[in-house]
Amino acid sequence: MNTSRKLTMARAISEAIAQEIERDDRVFVMGEDVGIYGGIFSATAGLYEKFGPEQVMDTPISETGFIGAALGLAMEGMRPIVELMFVDFFGVCMDQIYNHIAKNIYFSGGNVRVPLVLMTATGGGYNDAGQHSQCLWGTFAHLPGLKVVIPSTPFDAKGLMISAIRDDNPVIYMFHKGLMGLGWMTLIKDTTGPVPEEPYTIPFGRADIKREGNDVTIISVSMGVYQSLEAAKELERAGISAEVIDLRTLVPLDRETIAESVKKTRRVLVVDEDYLSYGMTGEIAATVMELAFDYLDAPVKRLAVPDVPIPYSRPLEQFVLPSAPKIVEAVKELLYS
């Protein structure tokens, strides 16, 4: 694959969707402002112009209504990508997502497939407060029946989106606003990355070791991967070799890669922009206990958002969110105490 071309994550996602619509006319997009506006985080930019209102459909502000409609279309053989503008809004449509999208395949004894992608925006760090800054992937990963996909790079975003569209089961696809490469919201230095032009898939349940190391394993997803990589550079200057694992999907979870890494480094830090308790960090810690207990040389350490709503105030928000300096500090505690 030619990887010299660079794209933002937003363009990588819309390209993936466009190529899948061209490949399979059962594929279409619906959601609030996904059409003429191109999606408020540009995940569907340019699709309306290309495919028109039949396949790129704007909906009213009525999540239960249009997500329920997407479910029905999926059960009838279409392959919808439906956007929930902010994951924080799941409260108004959770019955459709959880009691129907996630369960119908079980309730029907496997006779009804739900090939639906629920695409949604996650993440904070830009002062949008407690109803627009959450990640919540732990919540969806906790509920059986949904695959949970969280890209951290434009390359992964395209491959994982194509895999999500081609999957016969419901997938929640959670991109981070700050990683999309939007001019009005840039939370990382370089928001572009190499993306091949042709369609490709990335299998679910396959974590990506974004950086190899020997002294400590840092496990994260999404924005946390960037912060961990930045921290790893800083740690290298202190003579600490950190391995950074990007899980890419929480369901299915690549427990094997986690265990293998721990067997190599003996120490684990889990970094999560989601809440601390009952979440991803706890699940990883349990996985390490179950699969690599005999290799641990220190207790598993967790760095996640404390159990409070994301504050609006910038200093308070920065206080609760993970960051590279916090990761550096946590790793040093892990290694030296």
Partner: protein
């Protein structure tokens, strides 16, 4: 409390001045700890009751390790630990950290039967057949880590010995010296040159000085000769860093002192500025301090060259080990009477000099030139007292 130590350094508790159950006042002398041959007094950081001594007299301590628990009135126990190193700031840093330490310190106190170790340490110990009881833990609260087991395994090759062999723990001082010497031999390309010197004139000079009431000894004359030769050949005291050498213009002269079985190397600072008498006074003062354990930590560091004299122990020639980061060390042997064959046959006193040099810094020929210069100064010692 502010004891700056390398995280690798190790000390032991010399004395507790309070017993468990005693009331202590903030600032009161609590215990004495010895690190690298230097004693440090630690005061109580707070008022309260000394409820638990975690490191009894004679036991090893590392920087950051909790030493005891002091219960403040109506408050939870506070841990006293050796400060300074990164370990300390970690273990007593955040509120959660110190809470955890308290809990584990308390459990340890109850029975000492609870052995803390990481799963990785236990797995390795199992694989190697090492009883964990024999392993000393370096983690928080003495937790045994995988590295501790590995170190133990590497050191324990002779643990399964015959029953008539007595086992003894090395003193912290011996361990420190050993580590240093091993590091020296691992990192420097050391070779030793030997050379005999006829010291007839030197012995005579020393006797004259003695008669005139001077406290100058042969050691001081050796030191003086080395200092003068170093000023002419300063490369022999240069410090190697990467691809560069740093060559000091003055001389800080270290000299080996044996205290029992321990080895100390006090350093005479700016030795090149001292007269022979001042040199003798400095040597006397530092030797006394070293033997009485009063020598300051700063007085044991910063040397540019070391002299070690095993003459009094009956040694002629030996291969001294360089005291890093110095590039060379001069060993002095005993005075031996030998036959001299020139015009006629005479008997004269000789010593043998053993100069060990780091080949990375100085090659054999220039090192020999330096050694020859030292020998010349000792053989014809007028210059040693000339500008003294």
């Amino acid at each position: 409390m502010d004891v700056a130590q390398d995280s690798s350094s190790e000390g032991f508790v010399v004395n507790w001045f309070k017993e468990e159950g005693d009331t202590v006042r903030s600032g009161q002398l609590l215990l004495e700890v010895q690190f690298d041959k230097v004693s440090i007094e630690i005061d109580a950081p707070t008022d309260g009751v000394l409820v638990k001594i975690l490191v009894p007299q004679g036991e090893v301590v590392r920087p950051g390790q909790p030493l005891c628990m002091i219960e403040e009135e109506k408050k939870a126990g506070e841990l006293v630990s050796t400060g300074g190193a990164s370990h300390a700031s970690q273990s007593t840093g955040g509120p959660t950290g110190s809470q955890g330490e308290k809990a584990e310190a308390a459990t340890q106190g109850r029975g000492r039967t609870e052995l803390r170790s990481t799963p990785a340490a236990r797995r390795l110990a199992r694989e190697l057949g090492i009883p964990l009881e024999e392993v000393r833990g370096s983690g928080p609260g003495g937790r045994i880590t995988e590295a501790d087991v590995r170190t133990h395994a590497a050191n324990a090759t002779s643990s399964k010995v015959a029953t008539d062999v007595r086992r003894e723990r090395l003193s912290p001082a011996q361990r420190a010296t050993g580590q240093r010497m091993l590091e020296s031999l691992r990192t420097a390309a050391q070779y030793t040159l030997g050379r005999q010197v006829n010291v007839t004139a030197l012995v005579k000079l020393r006797e004259e000085l003695k008669r005139s009431g001077s406290p100058v000894t042969l050691s001081d004359l050796y030191h003086r000769a080395v200092i003068m030769a170093l000023l002419e050949h300063p490369r022999l005291q240069s410090r190697l860093e990467g691809d560069e050498v740093f060559i000091p213009s003055g001389v800080n002269l270290g000299f080996a002192v044996a205290r029992g079985e321990d080895l100390l190397v006090p350093v005479i600072r700016d030795a090149h500025k001292l007269s022979l008498e001042e040199l003798a006074a400095a040597r006397r003062r530092l030797t006394g301090a070293a033997l009485e354990g009063r020598v300051e930590r700063e007085e044991l560091t910063g040397g540019t060259f070391t002299v070690t004299n095993l003459g009094p122990y009956g040694v002629d020639f030996f291969t001294p080990v360089i005291n890093p980061p110095e590039p060379a060390i001069l060993g002095v042997g005993r005075i031996v009477r030998q036959l001299v064959l020139d015009e006629d046959v005479r008997v004269a006193p000789f010593i043998t000099l053993s100069l060990t040099v780091d080949h990375r810094v100085v090659n054999g020929a220039p090192a020999s030139v330096f050694l020859t210069r030292v020998a010349e100064l000792l053989a014809a010692p007028e210059d040693l007292i000339s500008n003294g």
